[in-house]
């Protein structure tokens, strides 16, 4: 109740202040962005969306690519502090070891916003964190399946992400809990496809053999779109029609899943938005110009895309983002 009130208050203040805030905006502000590196297509898209958002708002964005190393990120952040930037965005590569450098930023009065991953550091060391709710992503996928199959019996196979990774754990939790409410939907098999296309394909091949040549499988849920794309190929190789014989639902909404939707081979994808910077810039705008303290955790929307949502248009929109 309390939290909801706070949220409502912040949202209301944001709405009231937005016209005033955007008058000053972030025009001419210098913001440092320490990105992890280019570990995946989604990460590349996040970088290009951040740069585009910054350009639109007239922000002087200092971009630092850490090549998947925390020490590079810490160096970059110290560099930003030395330059006296107005704010810092960090997509932290690991959760631990940030206390010292975040304290330095705090002492220099530079607000820090965390993007898409959290850190194990006292909450007063950063302004806010913008991230998706991975459990909710899984739940949205589960809800889609429930509303699609109705009360027909449905055997689901699940292709998990890398064992032990937080998206794999949370996306499994969200989906499994959602479909557990419907007794006719059962998850018959679950294996890791390590978030890659080739492993997704291999795992699906195994599932198809083990479930009566795939005839018993009603749907496949993959923790990311790449594994779903691999699974679609395995389904086709087995002489079945993906999207019709076996429903395909996955998470991320990368361009290739939209081309699969155009071909009628994928049914639904929950978006992990690469636009983490948009809400971050809005929070910084309100904070720097009006002193508004944003909520500690800003959750991005987990939007569901189906073939009804103009997949060709979505594909064209995302293609240039570097996915």
């Amino acid at each position: 109740m309390n939290i909801i009130k706070k949220f409502a208050l912040v949202a209301g203040m944001g709405a009231l202040l937005s016209s005033a805030a955007y008058a000053d905006g972030l025009q001419g502000k210098v913001i440092g962005f320490s990105q992890i590196g280019s570990e995946s297509g989604w990460r590349a898209a996040e970088t290009s969306v951040t740069k585009a958002e910054a350009a639109e708002l007239g922000i002087d964005l200092k971009f630092a690519d850490a090549q998947q190393k925390q020490e590079n990120q810490i160096k970059a952040i110290r560099g930003f502090i030395a330059q006296g930037v107005d704010a810092i965005l960090i997509a932290p590569v690991v959760a631990t070891g940030w206390d010292e450098v975040l304290t330095e930023a705090k002492e220099a009065n530079i607000p820090v916003v965390l993007l898409d991953r959290g850190v194990d550091a006292p909450e007063d060391l950063y302004l806010t964190s913008v991230a998706s709710d991975q459990v909710k992503e899984g739940a949205v996928a589960g809800q889609w399946l429930i509303s699609t199959v109705g009360d027909k019996p449905c055997k689901v196979v699940e292709i998990e992400g890398t064992v032990g990774s937080s998206p794999a754990i949370n996306r499994k939790k969200g989906f499994d809990e959602a479909v557990a409410a419907v007794p006719t939907i059962t998850i018959v098999r679950s294996q890791t496809g390590e978030f890659t296309r080739s492993k997704g394909k291999e795992v699906m091949e195994g599932f198809i053999k083990a479930e009566n040549g795939g005839k018993d499988i009603c749907a496949v849920y993959a923790h990311n779109d790449d594994m779903a794309v691999g699974a679609i190929q395995a389904i086709k190789d087995a002489g079945l029609k993906p999207g019709t014989d076996i429903l395909v639902v996955s998470i991320d909404s990368v361009p290739d899943i939209f081309s699969a939707m155009v071909a009628g081979e994928a049914n639904a994808s929950v978006e992990l938005t690469p636009n983490m910077a948009g809400p971050a810039f809005a929070a910084l705008d309100a904070y720097l110009n009006n002193g508004t303290i944003p909520p500690k955790f800003i959750i991005t929307e987990s939007k569901l895309y189906t073939p009804a949502d103009d997949p060709q248009g979505e594909y064209d929109r995302r293609k240039g983002l570097g996915y």
Partner: protein, 339 residues
Amino acid sequence: MKRLNWKGALLRPQFAALAAVLFINWLLFPGFFDITWQDGRLFGSVIDVLNRGAPVAILAIGMTAVIATKGVDLSVGAVMAIAGAVAAVMVTSGSPAIVAVAAALAVGLLCGLWNGVLVTYLEIQPIIATLVLMVAGRGLAQLVTEGSIVTFSDPVLIFIGTGAFLGMPMPVVIAVCLMLLATLAVRRTALGLLIEAVGVNRSAARFAGISSGVLLLVVYTFCGFCAATAGLIVAGDIRGADANNAGLWLELDAILAVVIGGTSLLGGRFSIPMSVVGALIIQAMNTGILISGFSPEFNLVVKSGVIILILVLQSPLVSQWVSARTTALPVRGPKRKPL
């Protein structure tokens, strides 16, 4: 040339291990050996084992030759990624598939040659020399693909990864051909003997008149070629070049396959077909885990348990113990001398 002793060959622990793994798979999933005919090709779990095992088997063929010279090539996974990236980028930018495949294989040869030069002429230890390309190679592949997965619809490349010849998946056909050619090349000529000589003692081999430098160059270049072939297969399989993940950690599977196949990391005696059997054991285990329905947290535990078991069965201690117990059977290899 010595006649192949089929009975003796089939009694090797590797075949027993493969049979055991397949048998366990059958216990876990009774339809394991079912094979059907689907869309002009064979379809079944055993075919999956062969098909999915083919890339590692191909890597293992090249790796066997390198390990026999007392070397190791850690860069094969990265070379796979580079080859796939080159082929994918070339066909998507309009080159004919044949040119793209030739270019990818040529890049693989070059990568192998690079390793060979580092090992032979700069005399850098193989594990370090190939580590350079293992780390940098994936970066090169990402540069080629600009960090994204380059998808293609070229029928020739897709055929290499997913096509079928006489009902057999193309990767299996390619792996078998490579295995036969490589085995013939090393066993019907003096090449195998020369490789073993260099592996046992490079200086002695050189004094005996073997140009060990050239031989090492050839071996590493061949390993690069094998890696590029495997890279084309995995790219064709998913219809795209995934520079981040293609071939990731497969160098370790390839080395493991060679070791399971009985080739010593200290160089010398080697067997290419047995390395391929080693690759099949690894894949039979992977496929078994997939269809068994175990929770994925157990994958690596089960795998390591089985591998330890296989290696223990092959260890000199156990084989001596077995020979001591089975005096009725003809004993191969040196008997333990009485103390």
